[in-house]
Symmetry: C2
Subunit: 348 residues, 2 copies
């Protein structure tokens, strides 16, 4: 099953159920590159100690991004004596949450991109529809900001969607070249009070013009309006003005806060899958999995510790048990319990 | 007209004709990002001197990649009193030429990628079908290598596609676990001499096995064979063995060298368009064009000079005359000579 930003929310329950019922899990990541320094064979020299490998990968691989995460759950079916598998293929992209959130930069390595292209990889699914994510710090910070805004609202301090921080109580100073524009806006909004329409969408305009509109409307119509900036899919911003009574206005503010809360959960995005894997405590297997695990921690949890030993104890805390294994291409919908593929994972 | 690796060669003549007949040109680039340090508005502060802007962009923008290059040619038609425009939209990607050529790493900035995605940008066209390019140094180095190989061939030193540098005159040492495999290869090749088939494709195998095959065949069949490694679109390598007489063998070697020469021209790729623009000496206009010009020099010519003054004199040598202008979206197929758009470029 392919999972992008478009179907992530509706797929999350299926992912969590699959994790819950699974006996063990397999993961595999695709990256925008492998090494920003030594060539790949030097980076993954078979004679390195685990510590050496960890140190090299930490130094040379972490500025690339994990942009596809494959998850396969294995559940043993007694009646059929078979493992039932469920596969999920997540496309991931660090889409900025808003204009003030971190603007992630990541490296692409031409040979890796070219290899993925030759295998039919769909880059549009990553860059246009990739699921966003936040690490623990980013999530905590955003939740704090939202909480503060919610408290301000509960205490009646301002109506956040309406009063801009820079709005004053007096009339806004409107530069000459914008006077006609603002005059037309006032007429449009005025007409709301004499027509049956309850809402008017103003035309898209610049940030400065939006500031003038907020200031002017705040001063001209201190009550009876709900004013909100809407951003289209194409990143155009326009202002929507609605005629509301006091109850309606409060209800809308409440709705807006709830929407913000939901947007915040959306922003945590794919990290929720990683949290669920960690929480499941299930065995996770993978091929050459150190790099996948390091990217997973780095991208969805926190900066990597200096030493791999700390990382390993972190891993066991996070229930990221790692064993080497290899699985079939293309994925099979079931694998017999007597399959040689499973043998290395039997308790002996 | 959209131009990718798939139709680049057949489009090149049309591009060159358009450049030749044009009165002036307009260009615009799309990049994988803008700034790896200060935010974009600080980077393009309107109060900066040209020198300051140049220094900032050189420091913070050159690790991104120009991956789409828009070219519009304007030709004045006296009879119609109109400018006739031709537009070309090139998708560009630094696909590595071969396994030993530079493996370019470039940065992507999430907000830039997200903006392009919101505008319907097709990333697959860049990463899967982008036209490759070489800067002047890379091109010179590759041409030298090819020339050396050609000279070796002309002097009869080796038959490059056949004798591996590490091949010896004695029988190859074949490790036990590969003996069956090599035995089967010998039987297959042997059968070429008793069948009507002239060519046999061996199954894909590892680099080490290919080395064993080359060494074994070189020793077992010193004459009468042409052996070549073929790489599929999916990056799988297999060996093709053909039964040939001496003339045929020479003809094939010659063909191979010619193919290499053509591949080399393909590798210079999009840089040929930039060379043609430079050679045309035509006026080039663009909006906020310093960044486009800097990326163009950096990516398709040579490292940027320390000072913008050197860059400007380089530019004028390269006939990259730069003026600010702005053009319509979507592109128009003609613009009247009396259009206000053209006015800023009139000689006054």
């Amino acid at each position: 099953m392919e999972v992008t930003r478009r179907n992530f929310k509706e797929s999350l329950n299926a992912v969590c159920s699959a994790l819950e019922e699974a006996d063990f899990l397999a993961i595999d990541g695709e990256f925008s590159g492998i090494s920003d320094g030594p060539n790949v064979s030097a980076l993954t020299n078979g004679l390195d100690t685990p510590e050496e490998r960890y140190t090299k990968l930490k130094k040379h691989s972490m500025d690339f991004v994990l942009f596809q995460f494959g998850l396969c759950t294995f559940t043993y079916n007694q009646a059929k004596s078979k493992y039932i598998t469920k596969t999920f293929n997540f496309y991931i992209f660090p889409k900025p949450f808003n204009r003030t959130s971190p603007d992630i930069k990541f490296i692409c390595q031409s040979s890796s991109i070219d290899f993925l292209a030759s295998q039919g990889f769909d880059f549009n699914k990553v860059f246009c529809h990739g699921i966003p994510y936040l690490n623990q710090d980013e999530e905590a910070q955003l939740r704090k900001q939202t909480e503060e805004r919610r408290n301000q609202h509960a205490n009646g301090v301002g109506t956040p969607s309406y009063i801009s921080p820079s709005s004053s109580k007096g009339p806004a100073h409107v530069p000459d070249e914008h006077k006609d524009f603002i005059e037309r806006v006032i007429q449009k909004v005025d007409s709301l009070f004499t027509s049956s329409e309850k809402t008017v969408d103003l035309e898209p305009c610049t940030g400065f013009q939006r500031k003038l509109i907020y200031q002017t409307l705040n001063w001209k119509f201190p009550k009876g309006l709900h004013v909100e900036t809407i951003e289209t899919e194409k990143k155009e911003r326009y202002i929507q003005v609605s005629r509301v009574d006091d109850d309606e206005r409060k209800r809308r503010e409440q709705q807006k806060l709830e929407r913000e809360q939901e947007e915040l959960n959306d922003a945590v995005g794919f990290s929720r899958v990683i949290h669920a894997i960690s929480k499941s405590g299930k065995l996770v297997v993978g091929h050459n999995m150190l790099l996948d695990v390091m990217h997973t921690i780095h991208q969805f949890y926190c900066p990597l510790p200096e030493k791999s030993s700390e990382s390993v104890s972190f891993l066991s805390r996070s229930a990221q048990h790692s064993f080497s294994g290899s699985f079939l291409t293309p994925p099979k919908s079931y694998i017999s319990a007597r399959s040689k593929l499973i043998e290395p994972f039997h308790n002996k």
